[in-house]
């Protein structure tokens, strides 16, 4: 049961999902790019009365190569760093135009900002914080492929520790990225907005219900979605969902939400796999030594401990495999 009063139905199985596709095929996202799947479901949940602002990035360039568009709902791209500000303007304009009767006041129009990790963690961070602080009713969806994939796999604030990218190459001196991934969803949560969640497309029922909640709350909502990238993470595209699943099974990616201040893990993992299962599937971690893998494992162990402590119960279980 959903714990919030919502007008959209709770999704329980694929059969509950609308058949309508608001992201048309014919886009040029790489084969196996999970961003396509994420946006498809985001739009299914949102429906046609929706305006989407997309930051510069993979989704933007792949879906709107002039004169073709894959969008069946009104869509705008302005720049890399300001999806949140543009969305703020749209939301404010709808409010005042409905007040003045220029737009039908009874029509509910969803405003969604969609941006990648570069457009959110890094260049778009200030605009995002501004939107959250001002409290615009906007759903901000971050599709996180953990590097600047559109420009060719450069390191971002969302790139995980030790990952190879084209700007953190593996050589005699450098061994991939030497910093941790920025905890963006927690930073967003620190703004005390009504809804923050992390989601994983492999657990799509969990993901679509989070989209639903994000669209229902009265104020900003932020959903951070992991988006495996076969091109940048260096794996066979057929394993995109497998990789996503392993991220959660190893607790490298924990699906949680904070709804009106209440924190919960929405996908408990009773038995946890070793991070090596996730890392070894991806070429970007190919150079990792056992010692480095153990370092990542220790970091994840601490994260799990922190989450369990925060909830006062064990939602993410011990390492078994």
């Amino acid at each position: 049961m959903s714990q919030s009063a919502t007008s959209r139905p709770v999704y329980r199985s694929p059969f509950d999902l609308p058949r309508e596709e608001y992201l048309a095929p014919g886009h040029s996202l790489c084969a196996g790019c999970v961003a396509g799947m994420i946006v498809r479901h985001l739009l299914k949940v949102a429906g046609p009365n929706t305006i989407v602002v997309t930051a510069t990035g993979c989704v933007e360039v792949s879906t709107t190569l002039y004169p073709y568009t894959s969008w069946r709902i009104p869509w705008i791209h302005v720049a890399f760093e300001n999806a949140a500000s543009v969305a703020s303007g749209i939301e404010a304009a709808i409010k005042v135009l409905q007040r003045k009767g220029v737009i039908d006041p009874n029509k509910r129009i969803n405003v969604i900002a969609l941006a990648g990790d570069g457009g959110t963690y890094d260049i778009g961070f200030q605009a995002l914080s501004g939107l959250l602080e001002r409290g615009h009713k906007v759903l901000y969806v971050l599709y996180d492929n953990e590097a600047y994939m559109n420009t060719g796999i450069q390191r971002s604030g969302g790139t995980p520790l030790f990952a190879w990218t084209t700007t953190t190459p593996v050589g005699k001196v450098w061994k991939g990225k030497w910093q941790q991934k920025k905890p963006i969803a927690e930073i967003v949560a620190a703004h005390r907005i009504p809804y923050v969640a992390t989601a994983n497309p492999a657990y799509f029922i969990d993901m679509v219900n989070k989209f639903r909640k994000g669209l229902e709350v009265d104020g900003p909502a932020f959903i951070h979605v992991i988006q495996p990238c076969p091109t940048g993470w260096r794996f066979d595209p057929r394993y995109s969902i497998k990789v996503a699943k392993l991220a959660t099974e190893t607790a490298m990616w924990i699906n949680w939400e904070i709804e009106n201040g209440e924190f919960r893990v929405t996908v408990p993992v009773p038995k946890r796999k070793h991070v090596k299962h996730y890392l070894r599937m991806q070429g970007r971690f190919r150079h990792l030594t056992d010692k480095e893998i153990e370092e990542i494992q220790r970091f994840i162990d601490r994260e799990v401990e922190y989450i369990n402590k925060r909830l006062g119960k064990e939602v993410i279980g011990p390492l078994v495999e």
């Binding site: 705008i76 703020s88 303007g89 404010a92 304009a93 220029v102």
Partner: protein, 398 residues
């Protein structure tokens, strides 16, 4: 049609902007404070707070977001406004090109200010001149009344279906933004709203008719889309004049694209823009009394550049002295308007000499005496047939 009732108020140019924005029933205002623009937004906030204007104020966290939010708001059909100066305008710069590229009729006012570094809050036009190629229609006013009237005209121009380009209205920071003048504002703003009626002239984001705005255009397409802006600027030139004339017929005040002052019989023309023209006029009157045949020309429209009017006005003159309050570093003719004038005059068969003079940088005071001395220097150069082909940096300590 209802007759306009004017109320004579003591207003500085910043407040004149706020009154005009209120009278145009603007829907969304997104702005960030910066000296000397700040009181525009303060006054608008008061109007909204008191229920005199029904608008959404977006208290953005930067000027970049100010224009970004205005773009978003305009893209769903709202009438939008923002204001800035100097560093704020620089921070917006990327968005300037996108606002015009998306053909959104945003109106912005600039209380012009010198650029950092070193930081200076005082007036010059280096901020405005940096926006030259951003495809914004740019009006430069020289009185608080003209500021009020120009902002109203700006919405009519921007939203004209032949134009659909954003408009900037600029005026001197501090010198005008903070100087009180008597300004006639409409007591019955409905009349102003009749002059700038709400019209759906541009493509908007509407769930009933979904469009894609701001796609990626490859070499096969980009050029044609940008050429549309070239044509829109040409169309704008006509529309700006039409709107100004109609404004004149309706409200009794019009400005043209250039303002002439005692130039009919003048041999020497002083060309400038903004509030400095007031000083120039005073100086001309004083010089005329001393028998010097000098007149003045004020550029009210910077983009699109009023080439024909300028050529017509300088034809047969001996010398045009261009007083620029901005520097194009490294250019031989470093005054932006002087540079523009000279390129515009290139095809004239008999052209006047041009003396490019930079004055008032960082609000270094420019007095009537300065103008008279500059004119005397110009006359001397003319007489000796050695008008320099490079800019004079007036008043710099050397």
């Amino acid at each position: 049609m209802q007759e306009v009732k004017w109320r004579r108020l003591p207003l500085n140019s910043n407040y004149a902007v706020a009154y005009a924005v209120k009278d145009c029933d603007v829907d969304v205002i997104a702005a960030y404070p910066i000296t000397p623009q700040t009181t525009v937004v303060e006054k608008l906030s008061e109007f909204i707070a008191n229920g005199e204007l029904d608008a959404e104020m977006i208290h953005v966290e930067s000027e970049h977001s100010a224009l970004s939010a205005a773009i978003g708001a305009a893209a769903v059909g709202a009438r939008t406004f923002t204001a800035t100066a100097a560093q704020g305008l620089e921070l917006m710069h990327e968005m300037l090109h996108i606002a015009s590229g998306l053909r959104l009729p945003i109106v912005m006012t600039i209380a012009t200010r010198a650029l950092s570094a070193p930081i200076s809050i005082w007036c010059d036009y280096s901020d405005l001149m940096n926006t030259r190629d951003a495809s914004w229609i740019t009006l430069i006013a020289s009185s608080a009344q003209e500021v009020y009237d120009s902002v109203i005209q700006a919405y009519r121009i921007a939203e004209d279906p032949r134009v659909l380009l954003p408009v900037m209205v600029a005026y001197d920071g501090f010198i005008m933004s903070h100087t009180y003048e008597p300004v006639y504002v409409a007591e019955n703003p409905e009349v102003i709203r009749e002059f700038v009626p709400r019209r759906k002239t541009w493509l908007t984001l509407d769930p009933d008719k979904p469009i894609t705005l701001g796609p990626i255009a490859n070499p096969d397409w980009y050029y044609e889309i940008k050429y549309q802006q070239v044509v829109a600027m040409e169309e704008a030139y006509k529309v700006i004049k039409e709107v100004d004339e109609e404004f004149g017929r309706r409200f009794g005040r019009s400005y043209g694209v250039i303002e002439k002052y005692r130039i009919e019989d003048a041999d020497i023309v002083l060309l400038t823009y903004g509030g400095l023209f007031g000083t120039v006029r005073e100086a001309i009157d004083a010089m005329r009394k001393r028998g010097i045949n000098v007149g003045g020309l004020r550029l009210r429209l910077w983009r699109p550049f009023p080439a024909e009017e300028i050529i017509e006005s300088v034809k047969g003159k001996k010398l045009v002295i261009v007083l620029d309050r901005a520097i194009s570093y490294g250019a031989r003719i470093a005054g932006p308007v002087a540079l523009e004038l000279m390129s515009t005059m290139y095809r004239m068969s008999e052209k006047p000499e041009v003396l490019s003079v930079v004055v008032g940088i960082g609000q270094r005071t420019v007095t009537e005496e300065d103008i008279a001395e500059i004119t005397a220097l110009g006359m001397k150069y003319l007489e000796e047939k050695r008008v320099p082909n490079q800019t004079i940096y007036w008043g710099v300590r050397a």
